[in-house]
Subunit: 200 residues, 2 copies
């Protein structure tokens, strides 16, 4: 005999599919969910139901959008000669929260990783080159994870784009804000030393 009614079990199973949610938390969320009012339940269910048909990839940059072209690519107030290359669209949301980036984006959809069988052709790279070619004086900022795969992809992009006379930059590596130098991992410290800047 199950402790929970069947529908409650079903809800718990779905919550467990989300990241970092274990049995206990899933139970808590499912029990809280059934206390929501009728309208909220209807609207929540309908929102989830619409996900599959609503979201598309922006045809320009690959960002998550509800239209053919995303809001960012459509925004003429942004600098279309400054393209920030990211691994996936979640990075875009974080950049946008800083409110400090006025350029546009390009989503690769992954990183080069020969071990996992991911080659440059599997990524959204040819579209990036095509976009750059259509512009003058473009700068591509590469904003990928500082891992082997990220670095490999950065170097590959640098090579391919430099051939087209495109300025290629990357994010600086270094000490995260508020960190204690004493407890910093060695790799980060090494990178911070290497990327050091003159005090102005």
């Amino acid at each position: 005999m199950n402790i929970y009614p069947e529908l409650l079990e079903t809800l718990i199973e779905y919550f467990k599919k989300l990241p970092g949610i274990g049995e206990r938390t899933a139970e808590r969320y499912a029990l809280a969910l059934i206390n929501l009012n009728k309208e909220d339940l209807k609207d929540f269910a309908s929102a989830i139901d619409k996900i599959d048909t609503t979201f598309k990839k922006c045809e320009e940059c690959g960002h998550l959008t509800e239209k053919k072209i995303c809001q960012i690519c459509e925004d003429t107030n942004r600098d279309h000669n400054l393209i920030c290359v990211v691994e996936d669209y979640k990075s875009i949301f974080v950049f946008e929260k800083t409110k400090k980036f006025g350029g546009i984006y390009h989503v690769l959809g992954g990183l080069i990783s020969p071990i996992d069988g991911i080659n440059p052709d599997d990524l959204n790279i040819s579209k990036l080159i095509q976009r750059c070619k259509a512009l003058d004086n473009v700068e591509v900022i590469i904003a990928l994870r500082p891992t082997i795969e990220g670095d490999t992809t950065t170097l590959y992009l640098k090579k391919v784009l430099a051939n087209q006379n495109i300025k290629v930059t990357r994010l600086s590596y270094g000490i995260p804000m508020g960190a204690e130098i004493d407890y910093l991992d060695i790799l980060t410290l090494e990178r911070a030393l290497f990327d050091r800047k003159e005090v102005e």
Copy 2:
């Protein structure tokens, strides 16, 4: 301009209605949700949509059920002369997980709290008396929170049920398993002292 597409904002808002979910976590869950496959999304949405029409209160004990009478009340292998009184049905799930309770339950649907305007008449008490009257040699175990409201409700039930010659017990209060005596709060220690048992 919103950072997130509209549907994503909607999903985030609904996740934030669940307990302990703030902006960041809601964003994380919403983004993870849109990566689920089509079938999971359909089924999850339909499960949420069914909550409102599926769940009822058991007509006997007030527990959450999909039928008229819950599985526990229907189970003839359980001891129907042993009734555990709980504040709400969530407590039942925890008791059931212990697998140590072979009786049945009764859900009060709240605690007596004059400050909040909750009187005995607002709780599922008359049904409890009615159930007890229909039985011989019944024991009622009161399993309510050790707070002013819980204690008030326990004493009230004791009074009402003792009039009917019903045996009334309560859970023991004391040191939780694994606790360090040194760090125990004073009230718990007081209760543990008061509820002390002879070593056998």
